[in-house]
Structure formats: structure tokens, C-alpha cells
Amino acid sequence: MLKFLTKRLIQTIPVLIGVTILTFSMVLLIPGDPAQIMAGESASPEQLEIVRERLGLNDPIPVQYFDYLSGVVRGDLGNSIRSGRAVSTEVFGRLAPTVELAFYSTLLSVFIGIIAGVVSAVRRYSLSDTLIMFAALFGLSMPNFWLGLMLIQWFVIGTGWFQASGWGTPQQMILPVLTLGTAGSAIIARMTRSSMLEVIDQDYIQTARAKGVSEKMVIYRHALKNAMVPVVTVVGLQFGSLLGGAVLTETVFAINGLGRLIINAIRARDFPIVQGGVLVFAFLFVFVNIIVDVLYRFLNKRIDLN
């Protein structure tokens, strides 16, 4: 296991380097002169030159990249243009609500998705199957910012049970988690259903039934673990898109997370923050996928061979 983890971690190095190349290129790809954007429209040529010199924009591009990379390795992501504080301080200060939001949403969607998918598969073509699959389709096709607004409309303005802004208390957290977790629940439910249906048709399920195993245990002990193999992969990918979805959800629910930080930085053209935020998102995504690989390995013993 340790060997596998080491190998997997070494494999991520090229991926992470690729990510830094992309975040670095973002600044190059912005139309116009980055120094102009940062210094403002009214800056004089002298001021521009100072900004350029300070940012190292006069160096050849490879040199600029290596400066950036060595900064990333040391944990130095530059300074925010607006606040002047270190990007790493700003970004990591906002990280917790976003990760919590994505994590709870994933938990919710795994919980709802797997239960709904299993029920749907076991009672194939029944009324509950139809209803669950209809709900899943609905959940999947609904944009989550709209769902967030509707939830605010009903449960904040309407009943007043929850709060529509901030992060920390259950009253603040339930609606955003629900908003972000709905689409995931739907995807996982559909995935679980089809995976489960495939497994139920396998010969070893017949073997289990022929042993006299009760139908509940056939599903729980024999089918579920095998059906989870493809679902785990989806959950990992899902977590990544939840990070993206968090940007919208945080805006709707006014949560001071990383997503909102990035959005505000984009508005203010605070590019070091955008760059740092995206980099942290990408690193998180890679990290989560390592966890998924470990889980996958645990579920599917055959991977041990390789």
C-alpha cells in the first residue's frame, strides 16, 4: 500500500507541474498588457515600467515561469494587488468553507445517490424506480444557482427556517449543501442504478441466492461492493465539479469561501489571487483523485496485481 501511495504521489508531480504551467499562462493569455491592467488605465509609462520590473515581466518567459514555480514550491504565490497581503494567506484563509461545502455536499450526494440508486435498481420498473429516476433527471437538469435561489425563496424568505448568508451554523450550511449536492445525488443515483443492475445479472449473484442468502444480504453483501467500483470513480470526478460549483453556490449564499474570493478577484482584476485560487483548486482536485484511487484499490482487489 505504501509503495502504491509513493508511486501514485510521484506520478502526480508532472500533473502538478502541468497545472502550474496553465495557471502561469493565464496571466500571459489575458488580452492586453498585464502591467497595464494591474497598474490601472491612468498609469504613466514610468509607473508601468516599475510594475513590469517588480513583476519580472521584462524577463524572458521561461525565466518568469521558473521564478513563479520556485515561488509556488516555497509557498509564495505573490501578493494581492488590492490588499497587498500574501496570496497564500488570502487563499488559505478562505479555503475551509469551500472544502467543507464540497465535502458535505459530496457526503450528501453519496448518501442520497447510493440509497436512491439501489432502491431504484432492486425495484426496477416499479413506481418508486420511475419516481426516483424522474427526480434524478430533474435534479440533474436544474441549474444549481436557480435551485439555490428557490431554496432561499421558500425556506429563508418563506418559512424563515434557515439563513441565506454566511457559513458556520447548521442554519447557514444546510441550504448551500443541499443546493450543491443535488446534481451530484442525481448523477450518483443514476450511476449506482445502472451499475447495480449490471451486477445483479452476474452469475455470482445467482451463486449467492443458491446458497440461501436472503435477498437483503445478496444486495448488501454481494452486489453493493461490486457495484460501487464505477461509482467511486464518479464520486471523485464529482468532487472536482463540486469545487467548481462552489463558486456559484458561494456567490448565491454569500459564503466567504475560495470561490467567492476568486469571483471578487476577477471583478477587481486581482490576478495573483485568481492565479493562486485556481492553483489551489487544481491541487485539491489531484489530491482527491489520489484518495479515490486508494478507495478504488480497496474495493477492487484485482488492481493489487499491477
Binding site: Q202, Q206, T207, R209, A210, K211, V213, N226, R302
Partner: protein
């Protein structure tokens, strides 16, 4: 008279599809005494498996058992039992063995747990007690190193070993009845012999009754006291094994028995003349294979030598049989020969030059003369293509027609050539039976008017009676079109029928090569001898020889450091 262990009366089962009911089993009755073995023999679709499953009440949800049907087991009426009551019988009083050992074990559960689970369910045993019992049973079914094996997963077991585990699961609670549904169909012939012997041995030790379901008369002949022959959901004939084999009453039974290829049949005059030509050197050499090798990297510096320095010639108009068990490298040889795999070393000389050196254009030329027919008629036809496009595609690629009308005509000719109707060209593959699909596969291979066809196990997915018709078709096509075949198979009997000469492959090497009559009459290599003696003989009086029954490990025959030599005229052996 004491009551029989199992008595099935007027069993009638229908499947509901939409609004209509289709009867799949009609008025089936049979019985099994204590400690006896009954064989149900039938081809696919005969209703034999459905009948067996109904005893366990393990039918699909859309199956309906008629009210007048009776299944009495151990003095109780099975069909009146609730699911809860049935669960106490399943795995305890009736154990079931399934066909495919590769897919019948839970891939994510340890072997030991899969066996002890049954014991825990039925005997209220603790985890520890169940494990002890499970290990005993693993020993009983011939698993070596039980302590280590107990904690392994199914993927660490070979096919034969997995089938032993499945038998162990079925035996875990000492059932009164074992239902074995095609227990050896997916296994190699030498493994099959061992598994059948294991079942007999277990019956002797435990006194269980066995219901053996199979399509193979060779398997029932020396396993069962009595046989039920089924066809299209009905019992065609019942009787003792000796009666059925010596004096079958019904035409259907006679036909099935006649479809069993005879290992001792003499070859035709035509084949003898071919052999005479080949041996005297007057027949043209079509293909010369010199020290062909194909190695696959397995990672970490190890390689699998799937084909290791194989040499042989193929003469125009002959059929060379290539026989071996799974993993022997026979299919890889066929594929490497046509450059579906690139050879690791060696050459295949076709029309004077080595095809491994061909450039793209020459390859395309070669593909026109050399074709391939695949094993599985279900997966080798594109389900979204109409028959006319499946057969027409090679015509398109090699531009073998002037206009659409000509293409249509050619497709229809090809369909008729393989014994199908011209009107089938507008249909999709799923509308055809396995045998018909295999004919479509053959028509596709014939479309480019090839000289040489590699037939990779073209019969193994088909019923025996269908196999016989395809063999006839292949022989007829060979005569009509002067085709040359490389016929790859694991089934020695059909190889004998179709081939002029036979090469036996074992662990990537050819261990014996001679004409088929000589090979069956006078096998010289120890592996060939084992292979031949393991074939189940469709004769109830036949006794299995001891040497077949050595456990899996002992079967390994060493061919290390041996060379291929001509021991007798035209009889080559690795020694």
C-alpha cells in the same frame, strides 16, 4: 416402495413477455433416487436449465410455473413454499453448481468467506467454526495449500480451481441433492475429466444425489444411471443410460447421438489423396511458417511466451488442425500468422515473401487473400450493421464491385453460398441464431474470395447438431472454392473430422504434428496422450483411465530443452 428424493411431475413453465405467455417447459416429469445421478441432456433452448432452476425456485421474475406442476423434494412440496422457507433449502438441502467458474464467484470476496458464508447461514455456526468446516471442504474438493488459499480472492485461482471452489460452496452443508448445470462446459478437457471424477468421488463419500445438466452425451455416459433427453421444453426420451445409448427410440435422440463425432472414423478417400500429395511433395506449399514467436510483455521485465518458435507448413487445399487447451498459444499463433499481432521473431512466408516485412499496400493485398473467422458469432458481428453491410464491407474496402446493383447481387450470392436466404441481407445480427450468425461470419470471410482462412474456434459457441452442419458447410466450401484452412480448436473430435493433418500445441510450442488418423491411432507425445484419454467417451461401458485423473499440478509435462524430430515418417514429435 420408498419415496424418491426428488419427484418432478408435469412441470410447466412460461415466460411472460409484455402481454403474452411463452411456454418454455411443457409437461416435464422426472425423478431422482437417493444417492443416484440423473442426467438431463439437451441443446440450448431445450428448457433443461429452466427446469433445474425451478427446483431451487430461482427463476427469473417473469417466469410463471403452472398450478398443476408438482415438485416434491424430500417429502415436501417445493412449489408451495414461501421464499423464506425456500432459503432454508437453498444451499442446505440442495446445492447448485454453475457453468462458468470465471463469473460465478464474487470477485471482491475472499474464497474462504464465500464457502463459510453458507455454513454460517444454515448451521448457526460461529465464524471460527464455519472457517474450520470450510477448510475441510476445500481439502475434500482437492484444493492444495488450504490455509493460504482460504484468504485469497477468486482472481488468484485458475478456472479448474474455481470450479472446485464452486463445488465446495454447493457441498458446504452436505446437501441431499446437487444440481450441476453444465459444470464442465467452460473448462478444458483435461480439467473436465478431473471435475467429473471429483463429483463421482464426492457422491461416493457423501451419498448425495446429483442432477447433471449438460449438452454433451460424452459427459453423461459415465456419470449417470439414468438420462432424460429434452428438446424444445419437452421430454423426448427417458431411460437408463445403457438403454439410451444402445437403443435410442426417438429420432431426436438418434440424431443427437449421431452428431457426436467419432474419434475412430476413417478419413475419406479425398483426404487420403491430399495427404499422399503433401507427403510426396507434389502439392503446392501455400504458407511456410518458420520459428514464429510472439511474446507479450507482462511488466517488470517478465514476458509471456505465448508462441515460442513454432514452425509448420500449410499446403494448398488442406485443412491443418491446431489443437490445444486454453493458454496453449493456438489463437495467438493464428493471429500472428495473419499479422493481427506483430510477430516477435520468425517469418511467415506467403507467395515467396515474409508477410512480416510487408508494407501497407502489400498488407492490403494480402488481406484480400487471407481471411479470419472468429470464435464468438455474437460479438464478432457489429450489432448496428445490417447483414448486407457486414458482408459488403470487405467488398467496399477492396472495391470489388462496379455499382450498387452488383454489390447487392454479390452479397446475396454469398448468403446463398453459406446456406442462408438472399432476403436476410436486410436484417440485423440479433435476428439470427448462433449457427446462422456463424454462417454470416463465414460469408464475410468469403466475400473477398480468399485462398486461405484461419478458423479460430468457429464451432465452440454452437450446439452439437449445429456444429455438425457448420462442419459440413466448411467441407463443402473447401471443395467448391479450393480453400485452405487453419482450423484452431480445443475439441479434438471435431478437429479429427475436419482436418487432414493436426498440430498439437502446448505451452506455446507444437509438441506433435502428423495426419489426423495417425495422431488419434498412435499418439506419441505424453501431452497428446493425456489430451486424448481425457475426452469424455460417449459410451457407458467405457472406464476412465487413472492417468487422466492426476491433480492439475501433475499434468504439467516438461518440454524444456526438447526438439522437434520426425519419429516416424511424417510424424513429428517434440522430444
Amino acid at each position: 416402495m420408498t419415496e424418491k428424493l426428488l419427484q418432478v411431475d408435469n412441470l410447466k413453465i412460461s415466460f411472460s413477455t409484455g402481454d403474452s405467455l411463452t411456454e418454455v417447459v411443457s409437461d416435464v416429469s422426472f425423478e431422482i433416487g437417493h444417492g443416484k445421478t440423473l442426467g438431463i441432456v439437451g441443446e440450448s433452448g431445450s428448457g433443461k436449465s429452466v427446469s433445474a432452476r425451478s427446483i431451487m425456485q430461482l427463476l427469473e421474475n417473469n417466469a410463471v410455473v403452472d398450478q398443476n406442476s408438482r415438485i416434491r423434494f424430500n417429502g415436501e412440496e417445493i412449489l408451495e413454499k414461501s421464499d423464506r422457507e425456500m432459503r432454508k433449502i437453498r444451499g442446505k438441502d440442495i446445492g447448485m453448481i454453475f457453468q462458468d467458474p470465471m463469473s460465478s464467484l464474487n470477485p471482491t470476496m475472499k474464497i474462504g468467506k464465500q464457502i463459510s458464508e453458507t455454513i454460517q447461514i444454515h448451521e448457526k455456526a460461529s465464524k471460527k467454526e464455519a472457517a474450520v468446516r470450510a477448510k475441510e471442504i476445500m481439502k475434500l474438493v482437492g484444493i492444495p495449500d488450504v490455509e493460504d488459499r482460504f484468504n485469497q480472492y477468486p482472481f488468484e485461482f485458475s478456472g479448474g480451481m474455481r470450479q472446485r471452489i464452486i463445488i465446495a460452496i454447493a457441498l458446504a452443508c452436505s446437501p441431499k441433492l446437487l444440481i450441476a448445470d453444465e459444470p464442465t462446459t467452460a473448462l478444458d478437457v483435461t480439467i473436465q475429466a478431473q471435475i467429473l471424477e471429483l463429483l463421482k468421488d464426492i457422491q461416493k463419500k457423501t451419498g448425495t444425489s446429483i442432477l447433471l445438466i449438460t449438452h454433451d452425451f460424452g459427459v453423461v455416459a459415465n456419470m449417470c444411471e439414468e438420462i432424460v433427453v429434452m428438446n424444445k421444453g419437452r421430454v423426448v426420451e427417458k431411460g437408463t443410460t445403457k438403454e439410451i445409448f444402445s437403443s435410442p427410440k426417438e429420432d431426436y435422440t438418434k440424431r443427437l447421438l449421431a452428431a457426436i463425432p467419432d474419434l475412430h472414423a476413417e478419413k475419406t478417400q479425398e483426404s487420403k489423396e491430399k495427404l499422399a500429395d503433401i507427403y510426396s511433395g507434389t502439392r503446392e506449399k501455400l504458407l511456410e511458417v518458420n520459428q514464429l514467436a510472439k511474446h507479450f510483455p507482462l511488466g517488470r521485465g517478465t514476458t509471456l511466451k505465448a508462441v515460442d518458435d513454432v514452425s509448420f507448413d500449410i499446403y494448398r487445399g488442406e485443412t491443418l488442425g491446431l489443437v490445444g487447451e486454453s493458454g496453449s498459444g493456438k489463437s495467438t499463433t493464428g493471429r500472428t500468422l495473419l499479422r493481427l499481432h506483430d510477430a516477435t521473431s520468425g517469418e511467415t512466408v506467403f507467395e515467396g515473401s515474409d508477410i512480416n516485412t510487408y508494407k501497407k499496400r502489400q498488407m492490403k493485398e494480402m488481406r484480400k487473400k487471407v481471411q479470419f473467422v472468429f470464435q464468438d458469432p455474437y460479438s464478432s458481428l457489429n450489432p448496428r450493421q445490417k447483414v448486407k453491410d457486414i458482408i459488403g464491407e470487405p467488398l467496399d474496402i477492396h472495391k470489388l464491385f462496379a455499382n450498387k446493383k452488383e454489390r447487392k447481387k454479390r452479397v446475396e450470392e454469398l448468403l446463398e453460398l453459406v446456406g442462408l436466404e438472399a432476403s436476410f441481407s436486410e436484417r440485423f445480427p440479433h435476428e439470427f441464431s448462433g449457427g446462422q450468425r456463424q454462417r454470416i461470419g463465414i460469408a464475410r470471410a468469403l466475400a473477398v474470395e480468399p485462398e486461405f482462412i484461419v478458423l479460430d474456434e468457429p464451432l465452440s459457441a454452437l450446439d452439437a447438431s449445429v456444429q455438425a452442419t457448420i462442419v459440413d458447410l466448411l467441407e463443402e466450401l473447401q471443395r467448391k472454392l479450393n480453400l485452405t484452412y487453419l482450423f484452431i480448436a480445443h475439441d479434438l473430435a471435431t478437429v479429427k473430422k475436419l482436418s487432414d493433418r493436426v498440430a498439437v500445441m502446448y505451452k506455446g510450442s507444437i509438441v506433435e504434428l502428423t495426419d489426423s488418423e495417425e495422431l488419434f491411432r498412435n499418439p506419441l507425445h505424453s501431452y497428446t496422450k493425456k489430451l486424448l484419454s481425457a475426452i469424455p467417451v460417449p459410451d457407458p461401458h467405457y472406464e476412465v483411465t487413472e492417468e487422466v485423473l492426476s491433480p492439475e499440478e501433475d499434468l504439467a509435462v516438461s518440454i524444456e530443452g526438447q526438439s522437434f524430430t520426425e519419429v516416424r515418417p511424417n510424424h513429428w514429435v517434440m522430444q
